[in-house]
């Protein structure tokens, strides 16, 4: 099963096999717009590196003070952001 999954994983890599000149020929514009997606990865730093933003008790959610659920929420948000960046910048 694991072996099979690993096989699958290599498939996207094979999907961009193309003539040797291709990767050097990609238009700079297209490349720049792909790179712009990486700015999404800055958001977790902005959200978390300034504790005054979230070091408070209210509002409480499911019994969790804000300080706690805010940081838990960032775990999910940053994972989604990373996933978006991966999908958006992957070459098809």
């Amino acid at each position: 099963m694991i072996r099979f999954m690993t096989r699958l994983n290599t498939v996207p890599e094979l999907s961009h096999i193309r003539p040797i000149t291709d990767s050097t020929k990609e238009e700079p514009q297209k490349k720049a717009s792909r790179k712009a997606w990486h700015w999404l990865l800055v958001l977790p730093f902005l959200g978390l590196m300034w504790p005054p933003l979230y070091a408070k008790a209210d509002p409480v959610l499911f019994g969790f003070p804000f300080f706690y659920w805010y940081q838990f929420a960032w775990v999910i948000v940053s994972a989604i952001l990373t996933g978006i960046v991966y999908l958006a910048t992957r070459r098809r």
Partner: protein
């Protein structure tokens, strides 16, 4: 006082992973007489195995014990582990695929291999090697502490040296299967270990709060217990702790993936894409870690009273769970110590073999001898860690691990900046590294080696922050200033064996290798 049900369950799971550890030698069979196969499992792990391996490697048993212990002792400050393990992944996403790609292209096995190739400087590579081994050794020792805490909670107490017998047994078994199976052993065991830890945590964070009257009640009771402490803790981070909290998270995140053992995990994956996918998938462990941190609050709410905070979580389990499940949880923690301990000893052995033995002792070493040396060194490293824990006070290991984090982050400029640019001069990096090591150590020394937080006085301002971040700042300033000076007076730069396209996996050559592999 021994609870037999608990002990049976515990021993059963320990035996299962022992068998797995030896069987692993046959898993995805490769020639284990080559260091790339023994020490990196042939760089063939896909997304799922890498997820388990890096998860088991990065979120160690010590974490499972120490993070809730910190929350148990201090409250909110201990939660810095959460922002730390969130922001670490954007950093991994942006840097580690480049390291993987260049390492694959040039057959690099260790971070020091890369530094050697990139800057051409044996001195700088030696600094990275030295720091890596120095920071890893106490980390291995602390995994043993995780095991000790559990054995103590199981009630297995003998007289004199017999007291250490369970620990010695566990470690000798670990040393043997790491020797025979290399990185495959912890990778296979990680599949079991992580599944067990997930079950443990999910059970703990649903059942314990239910027994205590819900999360609202847990937070309320924990708040009271924290306020009643001799040095009161806080449920919500107070303003005085802001700068320490943020810099601890930031500095730890920079350090996390320049540790040799995490890089070993990264390099054993099969492509940069695997690493990028994992940067999005590994936060599942971060969520788990956050829940584990809450166990510290639950222990407070449950009125657990222990002399050392490290015992808080085991005591909480003993109090709240039926004995068979406690045995299961304890097994999960111990196995959780074995996985990172194995990977750390492999990483340290790779460093020694590639960057000291091959570089300075036997440059003409054959591949087979190289693998042999690495295997033997992995044994020596583990015995060293064992002796450390048995013969020296626990406090030494804790202090050294604290310092280890500050030291390892001093290799960040050489390794991570090196992935993007060669602007910094290798000599400047070396002097910067040295300045950072001294500054960081001196800052921790001012607290009598008790705290990683250093308070900087700037005029009328006082800024308490993680010493690792201050030391890194000193390191960078020195490196930048000296680079300008060294280039101006014309100190020669050494050749770079890597090329620009080696860092981008999606370039021609990587496709080329994929083609060959597929054929």
């Amino acid at each position: 006082m021994v609870n037999w049900t608990e002990l049976y369950v515990f021993v059963f799971f320990f035996l299962v992973v022992t068998v797995l550890g030896f069987v692993a030698a046959r898993w995805r069979r490769g020639n284990l007489n080559r260091i790339e196969e023994w020490g990196l499992a042939g760089r063939r792990f896909g997304t799922i195995v890498t997820w388990f391996l890096v998860g088991g490697d990065f979120y160690t048993a010590y974490t499972v014990i120490a993070v809730p212990a910190l929350v148990f002792g201090l409250g909110a400050m201990g939660l810095f582990a959460l922002p730390y393990t969130i922001i670490v992944y954007p950093i991994v996403y942006l840097t580690m695929p480049r390291l993987w790609s260049v390492a694959k292209q040039h057959g690099f096995v260790t971070p020091a291999d890369f530094v050697r190739g990139r800057y051409g400087s044996p001195g700088l590579a030696l600094a990275v090697t030295f720091t890596g081994i120095l920071a890893t050794m106490p980390y291995i020792a602390l995994q043993l502490v995780g095991i000790q805490v559990v054995i103590r909670a199981l009630g297995v107490i003998g007289a004199g040296w017999m007291n250490d017998l369970p620990l010695i047994t566990a470690f000798v078994i670990l040393a043997l299967y790491t020797y025979t199976s290399g990185l495959r052993a912890p990778a296979l065991i990680a599949l079991v270990k992580d599944s067990m830890i997930y079950i443990m945590v999910i059970a703990a964070v649903t059942m314990i709060p239910a027994a205590l009257g819900g999360y609202g009640e847990v937070f309320k009771l924990a708040d009271k217990a924290l306020a009643a402490k001799a040095t009161p803790g806080h449920l919500i981070l107070p303003a005085a702790g802001f700068s320490a909290y943020a810099t601890l998270a930031f500095g730890s995140a920079l350090a996390a993936f320049v540790y040799p053992h995490t890089i070993t995990g990264i390099l054993s994956s099969s492509s940069g894409h695997v690493i990028k996918r994992n940067a999005a998938l590994l936060p599942a462990y971060t969520f788990l870690l956050g829940l584990i941190a809450l166990l510290g609050l639950m222990a407070l709410a449950a009125g657990i009273n222990v002399p050392t905070p490290n015992d808080a979580v085991p005591q909480l389990f003993l109090k709240m769970f039926p004995s068979w499940f406690t045995g299961f949880c304890f097994a999960a923690i111990v196995i959780g110590a074995l996985v990172p301990a194995a990977i750390m000893s492999i990483a340290a052995a790779n460093l020694f073999t590639r960057n000291i033995y091959r570089e300075y002792i036997r440059p003409d070493v054959t591949q087979q001898q190289e693998a042999k040396v690495a295997k033997l060194v992995s044994l020596v490293v583990k015995l060293g860690a064992l002796a450390f824990v048995i013969f020296l006070p626990l406090q030494y290991a804790i202090v050294l691990q604290l310092l280890g984090g500050i030291w390892i982050v001093e290799t960040f400029p050489a390794i991570v900046f090196g992935l993007f640019s060669r602007w910094l001069h290798h000599r400047a990096l070396l002097v910067g590294w040295f300045a950072g090591m001294i500054t960081g150590t001196a800052m921790v020394a001012t607290s009598g080696f008790k705290s990683a937080i250093y308070t900087l006085h700037l005029g009328s301002m006082t800024i308490p922050a993680y010493a690792g971040v201050y030391a890194l700042a000193v390191n960078l300033v020195v490196a930048v200033v000296l680079t300008s000076i060294f280039d101006a007076i014309g100190i020669k730069r050494l050749p770079d064996t890597t090329q620009r396209e080696d860092y981008e996996e999606d370039t021609v050559r990587a496709v080329d290798t994929e083609l060959r592999k597929a054929a």
